[in-house]
């Protein structure tokens, strides 16, 4: 029987966070309550240091630094490495250097708590659907991290946005802090990492929310690994011209991408990987998305509202414990 887990919910990174922590396997570990408090503190620290919308963050300091080589903390180096890794894995579709384009589209401040434009209205007014493409200049290739020197190297003026991969990375880092607990969930605004031997034996049920209706349309069983969702229905706004913009840009044009998908949920070994897959799939449109999700599985939501599952299978079969009755020979 699954023991009761400690649960805490809070707001961070412009999103709702949730932690579930089971009992410690090792008696020397702190209680689930105490460890959850540590994890929460870490996530809040992560937000303070890496937010593009906090002018005192280390990320903003890096983006404003005129030097080519900038000393950086372990956390910022990790975040930049993760962002570059996502770009490499997706051939530049998930591009962390689109800050000028995001600002030009109107995404200059946090949209936390801002009511989004109804996505149905946006879909009705959207231009012809087409897959996004990488930016030919591939500015992200000029970013490198020197762990030995503790520096980040990039051309001055190339600003980095960790928003595309931040929550996934944060969930993975938080999961590292929960090693040694029987089971856990780190939910960073829908980017979810689960783990622990107890979860492998008795997987979590994770529900996928439809971006247009808010209904739960598919339930997944996940014992270890991650699931992440990317969509256009939350960070979407109207610009001065009357057009509607959102935060998932086509790197090639610098404009919001209208690909025929409004939401993609991807499964991955890590939350960073799942988030990268989800974004790449959404930017690629339905046909490309099926290819991105074919290996580990996921869910597509078309802008018609249709839900399509791709390559979903049982991810973590439970271990069955069989005990023979007394007197029955083994």
């Amino acid at each position: 029987m699954r023991s009761r887990e400690y649960e805490v919910e809070f707001h961070c990174m412009g999103s709702d966070m949730r932690l579930l922590v089971g009992s410690p396997i090792d008696a020397t570990l702190p209680s689930p309550e105490a460890r959850a408090c540590v994890v929460r503190g870490f996530l809040e620290h992560f937000d303070r240091r890496l937010s593009r919308f906090r002018h005192d963050s280390e990320l903003c300091a890096l983006n404003n630094d005129p030097r080519r080589v900038v000393p950086a903390s372990v956390l910022l180096r990790g975040a930049v490495r993760a962002a570059v890794w996502s770009a490499e894995q997706t051939g530049g579709l998930v591009d962390p250097t689109l800050v000028p384009e995001l600002e030009r589209a109107g995404y200059t401040r946090s949209r936390d708590g801002v009511r989004p434009v109804p996505v149905a209205e946006a879909i009705a007014a959207a231009p012809a659907r087409r897959p996004a493409c990488p930016h030919p200049a591939a500015r992200w290739r000029e970013i490198s991290v020197d762990e030995a020197a503790g520096t980040i190297n990039r051309p001055p003026g190339v600003r980095i946005d960790s928003g595309g991969t931040g929550k996934g990375l944060a969930a993975d880092m938080a999961a590292e802090l929960l090693r040694g607990y029987s089971r856990f969930v780190v939910d960073c605004g829908g980017d979810i990492r689960v783990g622990g031997p107890g979860a492998e034996a008795d997987p979590y049920r994770i529900e996928v929310e439809h971006p247009l209706t808010g209904r739960r349309v598919i339930a997944l069983r996940l014992g270890t690994g991650a699931v992440a969702t990317s969509g256009i229905n939350v960070r979407i706004w109207r610009i001065r011209s009357g057009h509607i913009a959102h935060h998932l840009l086509d790197p090639a044009t610098g404009e919001p991408a209208w690909t025929g998908l409004v939401g993609v949920t991807a499964i991955g070994a890590t939350a960073l990987g799942a988030e990268t897959l989800a974004k790449a799939a959404l930017l690629s449109g339905p046909k490309g998305a099926r290819a991105w999700l074919s290996q580990l599985g996921g869910v597509l939501v078309h802008d018609s509202g249709r839900v399509e599952s791709v390559g979903l299978r049982e991810l973590s079969p439970p271990k069955l414990h069989v005990r023979l009755p007394e007197g029955m020979a083994a």
Partner: protein, 117 residues
């Protein structure tokens, strides 16, 4: 000729005593009636009447709220749209088992939800 002056005699002692007793009793009875009616002559008429004492009753209510967490209604596989493969929805194996403990199990926590953020 000198007439003998006849001395005038007043009322008798008994008559005077009786009259005084009757007068005293009458005045006493009148005062008793006045006191009973609440008009104490010892109190001046300008004195404000004593207000009846108001007794405040304060009821202390000790409320105990017992909150129980019910499992949220989750989308059942049947509620999923027709386009959703049933295999994806019902991928979870159904394993039944006999309860070992007699104590009631705690209500399950809400399932994590992945969504756009």
């Amino acid at each position: 000729m000198t007439e003998r002056r006849v001395p005038r005699r007043g009322p008798g002692v008994l008559v005077v005593s009786a009259a005084a007793a009757i007068a005293f009793a009458a005045i006493l009875a009148a005062l008793v009636l006045q006191m009973r009616s609440g008009a104490d002559p010892a109190l001046r008429s300008s004195v404000t009447p004593v207000q009846p004492r108001v007794v405040l009753k304060r009821r202390i209510i000790d409320t105990k709220v017992i909150v129980t967490t019910d499992p949220p209604a989750v989308a059942s596989p049947r509620a999923a749209p027709a386009t959703v493969p049933s295999a994806a929805v019902s991928a979870a194996p159904q394993v039944s088992y006999a309860p070992v403990q007699t104590a009631p199990a705690p209500p399950p926590l809400p399932a994590p939800v992945t969504r756009t953020s």
